[in-house]
Protein backbone atom coordinates (compact mmCIF):
# COMPACT_ATOMS: atom_id res chain seq x y z
CA UNK A 1 0.00 0.00 0.00
CA UNK A 2 1.27 3.35 -0.94
CA UNK A 3 0.39 5.15 2.26
CA UNK A 4 2.15 2.73 4.56
CA UNK A 5 5.57 3.40 5.96
CA UNK A 6 8.11 0.79 6.94
CA UNK A 7 9.00 0.81 10.62
CA UNK A 8 12.12 -0.78 11.94
CA UNK A 9 13.04 -0.76 15.61
CA UNK A 10 16.45 -2.26 16.28
CA UNK A 11 18.42 -2.70 19.48
CA UNK A 12 21.96 -4.03 19.79
CA UNK A 13 20.52 -7.35 20.89
CA UNK A 14 17.91 -7.87 18.22
CA UNK A 15 15.48 -6.39 15.76
CA UNK A 16 12.32 -5.80 17.70
CA UNK A 17 9.93 -4.51 15.07
CA UNK A 18 10.13 -4.74 11.32
CA UNK A 19 6.79 -4.16 9.66
CA UNK A 20 4.53 -1.78 7.81
CA UNK A 21 2.76 0.95 9.72
CA UNK A 22 0.18 3.56 8.89
CA UNK A 23 1.45 6.10 11.38
CA UNK A 24 4.30 6.17 13.87
CA UNK A 25 4.33 8.41 16.92
CA UNK A 26 7.60 8.67 18.82
CA UNK A 27 8.89 10.63 21.80
CA UNK A 28 11.59 12.98 20.49
CA UNK A 29 13.80 14.86 22.91
CA UNK A 30 12.26 18.09 21.67
CA UNK A 31 8.73 16.79 21.78
CA UNK A 32 6.60 13.98 20.51
CA UNK A 33 6.26 13.69 16.78
CA UNK A 34 4.23 11.68 14.33
CA UNK A 35 5.43 10.31 11.03
CA UNK A 36 3.39 9.35 8.01
CA UNK A 37 4.60 8.02 4.71
CA UNK A 38 6.30 10.68 2.63
CA UNK A 39 7.89 12.48 5.56
CA UNK A 40 10.86 14.74 4.89
CA UNK A 41 14.18 13.14 5.82
CA UNK A 42 14.44 13.78 9.50
CA UNK A 43 16.72 12.77 12.31
CA UNK A 44 16.34 13.20 16.02
CA UNK A 45 17.20 11.77 19.38
CA UNK A 46 14.55 10.00 21.38
CA UNK A 47 13.93 10.01 25.06
CA UNK A 48 12.57 7.28 27.23
CA UNK A 49 8.99 6.58 26.38
CA UNK A 50 6.57 4.85 24.12
CA UNK A 51 6.51 4.47 20.39
CA UNK A 52 2.96 4.12 19.18
CA UNK A 53 2.19 2.89 15.74
CA UNK A 54 -0.78 1.61 13.84
CA UNK A 55 0.05 -1.53 11.93
CA UNK A 56 -1.15 -2.43 8.46
CA UNK A 57 -4.30 -4.06 9.80
CA UNK A 58 -5.25 -0.94 11.74
CA UNK A 59 -4.39 -2.22 15.19
CA UNK A 60 -2.61 0.13 17.53
CA UNK A 61 0.70 -1.12 18.91
CA UNK A 62 2.95 0.07 21.69
CA UNK A 63 6.66 -0.35 22.08
CA UNK A 64 8.67 0.73 25.08
CA UNK A 65 12.04 2.30 24.33
CA UNK A 66 14.67 3.51 26.75
CA UNK A 67 15.98 6.30 24.59
CA UNK A 68 17.91 6.25 21.35
CA UNK A 69 17.55 8.01 18.07
CA UNK A 70 15.54 7.71 14.92
CA UNK A 71 15.89 8.46 11.29
CA UNK A 72 12.86 9.04 9.14
CA UNK A 73 12.93 8.75 5.38
CA UNK A 74 9.95 9.14 3.06
CA UNK A 75 9.32 5.41 3.01
CA UNK A 76 10.99 4.18 6.14
CA UNK A 77 11.48 4.96 9.82
CA UNK A 78 14.43 3.46 11.62
CA UNK A 79 14.63 3.60 15.38
CA UNK A 80 17.88 2.70 17.10
CA UNK A 81 17.21 2.14 20.77
CA UNK A 82 19.33 0.81 23.59
CA UNK A 83 16.47 -1.40 24.62
CA UNK A 84 13.00 -1.85 23.25
CA UNK A 85 10.12 -4.10 24.15
CA UNK A 86 6.75 -4.65 22.59
CA UNK A 87 3.91 -4.37 24.99
CA UNK A 88 3.37 -8.12 25.10
CA UNK A 89 7.05 -8.70 25.93
CA UNK A 90 7.14 -6.44 28.95
CA UNK A 91 7.77 -8.36 32.12
CA UNK A 92 5.44 -6.56 34.47
CA UNK A 93 6.61 -8.40 37.57
CA UNK A 94 10.17 -7.39 36.87
CA UNK A 95 9.13 -3.82 36.24
CA UNK A 96 7.24 -3.75 39.50
CA UNK A 97 10.26 -5.12 41.34
CA UNK A 98 12.48 -2.53 39.72
CA UNK A 99 10.03 0.16 40.69
CA UNK A 100 10.12 -0.86 44.32
CA UNK A 101 13.90 -1.04 44.38
CA UNK A 102 14.18 2.35 42.75
CA UNK A 103 11.74 3.91 45.18
CA UNK A 104 13.64 2.51 48.10
CA UNK A 105 16.92 3.78 46.80
CA UNK A 106 15.42 7.17 46.10
CA UNK A 107 14.36 7.48 49.69
CA UNK A 108 17.79 6.56 50.91
CA UNK A 109 19.44 9.01 48.57
CA UNK A 110 16.87 11.76 48.79
CA UNK A 111 19.14 14.01 50.80
CA UNK A 112 21.96 14.21 48.28
CA UNK A 113 21.76 14.89 44.56
CA UNK A 114 24.44 12.48 43.43
CA UNK A 115 24.89 9.94 40.70
CA UNK A 116 23.06 7.22 42.59
CA UNK A 117 20.11 9.52 42.84
CA UNK A 118 20.07 10.19 39.13
CA UNK A 119 20.43 6.50 38.34
CA UNK A 120 17.63 5.53 40.69
CA UNK A 121 15.46 8.17 39.15
CA UNK A 122 16.15 6.83 35.67
CA UNK A 123 15.37 3.31 36.83
CA UNK A 124 12.14 4.57 38.33
CA UNK A 125 11.20 6.24 35.07
CA UNK A 126 11.87 3.11 33.11
CA UNK A 127 9.84 0.94 35.43
CA UNK A 128 6.93 3.37 35.49
CA UNK A 129 6.86 3.59 31.73
CA UNK A 130 6.97 -0.13 31.25
CA UNK A 131 4.07 -0.59 33.64
CA UNK A 132 2.09 2.18 32.04
CA UNK A 133 2.38 0.61 28.64
CA UNK A 134 1.60 -2.84 29.93
CA UNK A 135 -1.51 -1.65 31.69
CA UNK A 136 -3.09 0.33 28.88
CA UNK A 137 -6.16 -1.45 27.64
CA UNK A 138 -5.62 -4.28 25.22
Amino acid sequence: MANNIKLEIVTPEKTVVNEEAKIVVAPGTLGEFGILAGHTPFMTTLKLGTIRYTDASGRERFVFISGGFSEALPDKVTVLAESAERRCDIDIERARGALERAEKRLQEQAAKENIDFVRAKAALDRALHRMKIAETRR
Partner: protein, 296 residues
Protein backbone atom coordinates in the same frame (compact mmCIF):
# COMPACT_ATOMS: atom_id res chain seq x y z
CA UNK B 1 58.89 -52.81 27.23
CA UNK B 2 55.99 -51.61 29.40
CA UNK B 3 53.85 -54.35 30.89
CA UNK B 4 50.52 -55.28 29.35
CA UNK B 5 48.56 -53.92 32.22
CA UNK B 6 50.29 -50.52 32.13
CA UNK B 7 49.53 -50.07 28.47
CA UNK B 8 45.93 -51.07 29.00
CA UNK B 9 45.51 -48.51 31.76
CA UNK B 10 47.13 -45.85 29.62
CA UNK B 11 44.79 -46.58 26.72
CA UNK B 12 41.82 -46.27 29.04
CA UNK B 13 43.05 -42.94 30.30
CA UNK B 14 43.59 -41.49 26.86
CA UNK B 15 40.18 -42.71 25.78
CA UNK B 16 38.60 -40.85 28.65
CA UNK B 17 40.50 -37.70 27.79
CA UNK B 18 39.31 -38.05 24.25
CA UNK B 19 35.74 -38.27 25.44
CA UNK B 20 36.15 -35.05 27.34
CA UNK B 21 37.79 -33.15 24.52
CA UNK B 22 35.16 -34.42 22.13
CA UNK B 23 32.38 -33.24 24.42
CA UNK B 24 34.03 -29.86 24.85
CA UNK B 25 34.36 -29.57 21.11
CA UNK B 26 30.65 -30.17 20.70
CA UNK B 27 29.73 -27.74 23.45
CA UNK B 28 31.95 -25.09 21.88
CA UNK B 29 30.33 -25.74 18.51
CA UNK B 30 26.84 -25.14 19.82
CA UNK B 31 27.92 -22.09 21.84
CA UNK B 32 29.66 -20.73 18.79
CA UNK B 33 26.41 -20.93 16.91
CA UNK B 34 24.73 -18.94 19.68
CA UNK B 35 27.48 -16.34 19.70
CA UNK B 36 27.26 -15.97 15.96
CA UNK B 37 23.52 -15.42 16.16
CA UNK B 38 24.14 -12.66 18.66
CA UNK B 39 26.58 -11.07 16.29
CA UNK B 40 24.11 -11.33 13.45
CA UNK B 41 21.44 -9.68 15.55
CA UNK B 42 23.74 -6.84 16.41
CA UNK B 43 24.75 -6.25 12.82
CA UNK B 44 21.70 -4.24 11.66
CA UNK B 45 22.12 -1.88 14.60
CA UNK B 46 25.83 -1.48 14.07
CA UNK B 47 25.45 -0.90 10.35
CA UNK B 48 22.76 1.72 10.77
CA UNK B 49 24.68 3.36 13.56
CA UNK B 50 27.84 3.67 11.49
CA UNK B 51 25.84 5.08 8.61
CA UNK B 52 24.14 7.72 10.73
CA UNK B 53 27.35 8.60 12.51
CA UNK B 54 29.24 8.95 9.25
CA UNK B 55 26.64 11.22 7.69
CA UNK B 56 26.44 13.37 10.83
CA UNK B 57 30.18 13.67 11.15
CA UNK B 58 30.24 15.05 7.66
CA UNK B 59 27.86 17.83 8.55
CA UNK B 60 28.94 18.70 12.06
CA UNK B 61 31.82 20.93 12.95
CA UNK B 62 35.10 19.74 14.45
CA UNK B 63 34.99 20.07 18.20
CA UNK B 64 31.50 19.09 19.10
CA UNK B 65 32.45 16.84 21.97
CA UNK B 66 35.28 16.66 24.48
CA UNK B 67 35.49 12.98 23.64
CA UNK B 68 37.04 13.86 20.29
CA UNK B 69 39.87 16.00 21.56
CA UNK B 70 43.26 14.35 22.06
CA UNK B 71 45.23 15.30 25.16
CA UNK B 72 48.43 17.30 24.81
CA UNK B 73 50.40 14.84 26.89
CA UNK B 74 49.43 11.26 27.40
CA UNK B 75 50.30 10.04 30.85
CA UNK B 76 47.66 7.51 31.68
CA UNK B 77 46.78 4.86 29.20
CA UNK B 78 43.88 2.61 29.94
CA UNK B 79 43.52 -0.75 28.30
CA UNK B 80 40.32 -2.72 28.15
CA UNK B 81 41.50 -6.29 27.87
CA UNK B 82 38.97 -8.82 26.64
CA UNK B 83 39.89 -12.43 27.28
CA UNK B 84 37.97 -15.56 28.08
CA UNK B 85 37.08 -16.86 31.51
CA UNK B 86 38.22 -20.36 30.80
CA UNK B 87 41.24 -21.98 29.28
CA UNK B 88 41.56 -24.97 26.99
CA UNK B 89 41.25 -22.85 23.92
CA UNK B 90 44.73 -23.04 22.50
CA UNK B 91 46.75 -19.87 22.31
CA UNK B 92 43.70 -17.66 22.39
CA UNK B 93 44.31 -15.82 25.65
CA UNK B 94 48.07 -15.91 25.33
CA UNK B 95 47.78 -14.16 21.98
CA UNK B 96 45.52 -11.46 23.35
CA UNK B 97 47.79 -10.82 26.30
CA UNK B 98 50.81 -10.75 24.05
CA UNK B 99 49.09 -8.12 21.94
CA UNK B 100 48.54 -5.97 25.02
CA UNK B 101 52.13 -6.48 26.12
CA UNK B 102 53.50 -5.49 22.75
CA UNK B 103 51.42 -2.38 22.79
CA UNK B 104 52.64 -1.52 26.26
CA UNK B 105 56.23 -2.03 25.18
CA UNK B 106 55.69 0.34 22.27
CA UNK B 107 54.27 3.03 24.44
CA UNK B 108 56.34 2.67 27.57
CA UNK B 109 59.16 4.83 26.23
CA UNK B 110 57.57 8.00 27.54
CA UNK B 111 56.46 8.39 31.10
CA UNK B 112 53.17 6.65 31.01
CA UNK B 113 51.29 4.50 33.44
CA UNK B 114 48.97 1.76 32.37
CA UNK B 115 45.75 0.70 33.95
CA UNK B 116 43.33 -2.03 32.99
CA UNK B 117 39.72 -2.97 32.77
CA UNK B 118 39.47 -6.71 32.48
CA UNK B 119 36.78 -8.71 30.83
CA UNK B 120 37.49 -12.35 31.54
CA UNK B 121 39.38 -14.26 34.19
CA UNK B 122 42.44 -15.08 32.14
CA UNK B 123 43.33 -11.48 31.51
CA UNK B 124 42.55 -10.56 35.07
CA UNK B 125 44.84 -13.24 36.46
CA UNK B 126 47.60 -12.02 34.19
CA UNK B 127 47.10 -8.43 35.30
CA UNK B 128 47.19 -9.51 38.91
CA UNK B 129 50.25 -11.66 38.52
CA UNK B 130 52.17 -8.81 36.93
CA UNK B 131 51.00 -6.37 39.57
CA UNK B 132 49.47 -4.02 37.05
CA UNK B 133 46.83 -1.56 38.06
CA UNK B 134 43.36 -2.92 37.56
CA UNK B 135 40.46 -0.51 37.68
CA UNK B 136 37.62 -2.85 36.92
CA UNK B 137 36.92 -6.47 36.25
CA UNK B 138 33.99 -8.23 34.69
CA UNK B 139 33.92 -11.98 35.09
CA UNK B 140 31.36 -14.28 33.55
CA UNK B 141 30.65 -11.98 30.64
CA UNK B 142 32.74 -13.14 27.73
CA UNK B 143 31.52 -16.39 26.26
CA UNK B 144 27.99 -16.06 27.54
CA UNK B 145 25.00 -14.29 26.12
CA UNK B 146 26.09 -10.71 26.54
CA UNK B 147 23.59 -8.00 27.26
CA UNK B 148 24.09 -4.52 25.90
CA UNK B 149 23.76 -3.10 29.40
CA UNK B 150 27.15 -4.59 30.30
CA UNK B 151 28.78 -2.56 27.56
CA UNK B 152 26.71 0.41 28.62
CA UNK B 153 27.86 0.24 32.21
CA UNK B 154 31.50 -0.32 31.41
CA UNK B 155 31.45 2.31 28.68
CA UNK B 156 29.95 4.90 30.95
CA UNK B 157 32.70 4.34 33.49
CA UNK B 158 35.36 4.70 30.82
CA UNK B 159 33.88 7.93 29.57
CA UNK B 160 33.61 9.36 33.07
CA UNK B 161 37.22 8.48 33.79
CA UNK B 162 38.29 10.01 30.50
CA UNK B 163 36.43 13.23 31.16
CA UNK B 164 37.83 13.72 34.65
CA UNK B 165 41.29 13.05 33.18
CA UNK B 166 42.00 9.82 35.02
CA UNK B 167 42.65 8.28 31.61
CA UNK B 168 44.17 10.16 28.71
CA UNK B 169 43.76 7.42 26.18
CA UNK B 170 41.65 4.31 26.19
CA UNK B 171 42.24 1.26 24.05
CA UNK B 172 40.46 -2.02 23.73
CA UNK B 173 42.22 -5.31 23.04
CA UNK B 174 39.95 -8.00 21.66
CA UNK B 175 39.94 -10.98 19.34
CA UNK B 176 38.50 -10.19 15.97
CA UNK B 177 36.55 -13.06 14.54
CA UNK B 178 37.71 -13.50 10.96
CA UNK B 179 36.70 -17.08 10.34
CA UNK B 180 36.35 -20.37 12.17
CA UNK B 181 40.04 -20.99 11.85
CA UNK B 182 41.30 -17.47 12.35
CA UNK B 183 40.87 -15.06 15.23
CA UNK B 184 43.08 -12.03 15.18
CA UNK B 185 44.04 -10.18 18.36
CA UNK B 186 43.32 -6.55 17.61
CA UNK B 187 43.85 -3.28 19.41
CA UNK B 188 41.57 -0.35 18.81
CA UNK B 189 41.53 3.17 20.16
CA UNK B 190 38.31 4.03 21.95
CA UNK B 191 39.07 7.43 23.47
CA UNK B 192 39.69 10.08 22.39
CA UNK B 193 37.49 9.01 19.53
CA UNK B 194 39.62 8.78 16.41
CA UNK B 195 38.38 10.86 13.46
CA UNK B 196 35.26 9.23 12.12
CA UNK B 197 35.52 7.83 8.67
CA UNK B 198 33.16 10.02 6.74
CA UNK B 199 33.43 8.12 3.53
CA UNK B 200 32.02 4.89 4.90
CA UNK B 201 29.73 3.00 2.55
CA UNK B 202 29.38 6.01 0.38
CA UNK B 203 29.39 4.13 -2.89
CA UNK B 204 25.66 3.39 -2.75
CA UNK B 205 22.76 5.66 -3.51
CA UNK B 206 21.86 7.36 -0.19
CA UNK B 207 24.26 10.25 -0.83
CA UNK B 208 21.63 12.49 -2.31
CA UNK B 209 19.09 12.58 0.47
CA UNK B 210 21.42 12.42 3.43
CA UNK B 211 22.51 15.94 2.64
CA UNK B 212 19.07 17.34 3.26
CA UNK B 213 18.16 15.71 6.54
CA UNK B 214 16.40 17.91 9.02
CA UNK B 215 18.16 17.44 12.32
CA UNK B 216 16.56 18.06 15.63
CA UNK B 217 18.43 19.24 17.66
CA UNK B 218 21.25 20.47 15.41
CA UNK B 219 23.69 18.11 13.73
CA UNK B 220 26.41 19.12 16.19
CA UNK B 221 24.27 18.34 19.18
CA UNK B 222 23.08 15.09 17.66
CA UNK B 223 26.65 14.05 17.07
CA UNK B 224 27.58 14.97 20.61
CA UNK B 225 24.74 12.77 21.74
CA UNK B 226 25.78 9.86 19.55
CA UNK B 227 29.48 9.79 20.34
CA UNK B 228 29.19 8.26 23.81
CA UNK B 229 26.86 5.70 22.32
CA UNK B 230 29.54 4.97 19.78
CA UNK B 231 31.79 3.89 22.64
CA UNK B 232 29.16 1.49 23.94
CA UNK B 233 28.62 0.11 20.49
CA UNK B 234 32.34 -0.42 19.93
CA UNK B 235 32.75 -2.05 23.30
CA UNK B 236 29.77 -4.28 22.75
CA UNK B 237 31.02 -5.36 19.38
CA UNK B 238 34.47 -6.08 20.85
CA UNK B 239 32.85 -8.29 23.49
CA UNK B 240 30.74 -10.12 20.95
CA UNK B 241 33.74 -10.71 18.71
CA UNK B 242 35.83 -11.98 21.60
CA UNK B 243 33.10 -14.36 22.69
CA UNK B 244 32.64 -15.76 19.24
CA UNK B 245 36.39 -16.06 18.80
CA UNK B 246 36.75 -17.83 22.12
CA UNK B 247 34.33 -20.53 21.13
CA UNK B 248 35.86 -20.88 17.70
CA UNK B 249 39.34 -21.13 19.20
CA UNK B 250 38.18 -23.73 21.70
CA UNK B 251 36.51 -25.70 18.98
CA UNK B 252 39.69 -25.87 16.95
CA UNK B 253 41.83 -26.62 19.98
CA UNK B 254 39.54 -29.39 21.12
CA UNK B 255 39.32 -30.81 17.64
CA UNK B 256 43.10 -31.02 17.54
CA UNK B 257 43.19 -32.56 20.98
CA UNK B 258 40.69 -35.20 19.96
CA UNK B 259 42.78 -36.01 16.91
CA UNK B 260 45.93 -36.20 19.02
CA UNK B 261 44.14 -38.59 21.37
CA UNK B 262 43.16 -40.75 18.44
CA UNK B 263 46.77 -40.96 17.25
CA UNK B 264 47.95 -41.73 20.73
CA UNK B 265 45.42 -44.51 21.13
CA UNK B 266 46.51 -46.02 17.83
CA UNK B 267 50.14 -46.04 18.87
CA UNK B 268 49.33 -47.41 22.28
CA UNK B 269 47.16 -50.16 20.84
CA UNK B 270 50.06 -51.11 18.61
CA UNK B 271 52.36 -51.24 21.61
CA UNK B 272 49.76 -53.24 23.51
CA UNK B 273 49.41 -55.80 20.73
CA UNK B 274 53.17 -56.12 20.42
CA UNK B 275 53.51 -56.64 24.14
CA UNK B 276 50.76 -59.22 24.12
CA UNK B 277 52.30 -61.03 21.19
CA UNK B 278 55.69 -61.00 22.87
CA UNK B 279 54.15 -62.48 26.01
CA UNK B 280 52.44 -65.25 24.03
CA UNK B 281 55.63 -66.02 22.14
CA UNK B 282 57.58 -66.19 25.37
CA UNK B 283 55.02 -68.54 26.87
CA UNK B 284 55.07 -70.78 23.81
CA UNK B 285 58.84 -70.90 23.94
CA UNK B 286 58.59 -72.01 27.54
CA UNK B 287 56.11 -74.77 26.77
CA UNK B 288 58.02 -75.98 23.74
CA UNK B 289 61.26 -75.83 25.68
CA UNK B 290 59.67 -77.82 28.54
CA UNK B 291 58.26 -80.44 26.20
CA UNK B 292 61.60 -80.85 24.49
CA UNK B 293 63.26 -81.29 27.85
CA UNK B 294 60.80 -84.03 28.89
CA UNK B 295 61.29 -85.87 25.63
CA UNK B 296 65.01 -85.75 26.04
Amino acid sequence: MPSLKDVKIKIGAVKKTQQITKAMNMVATSRLRGAQTNMDRFRPYAAKFAEVLGSLAEKAGGDVSPLLIPRDATKNIHIVLCTSDRGLCGGFNANLIEKAQKFMAERSGQEVTFSFTNFGKRGRDWTRKNKLKMVDQYIGVVGTRIGFNVALKAGRKLIDAFLDETHDEVYVVYAEFVSMGRQVPTIKQLLPIPPIDKKEEKAQEPVAYLAEHICEPSADELLGELLPRNIYVQLFSALLETSTSEHAARMTAMDNATKACKDLIENLTLAFNKARQAAITAELMDIVGGAEALKG
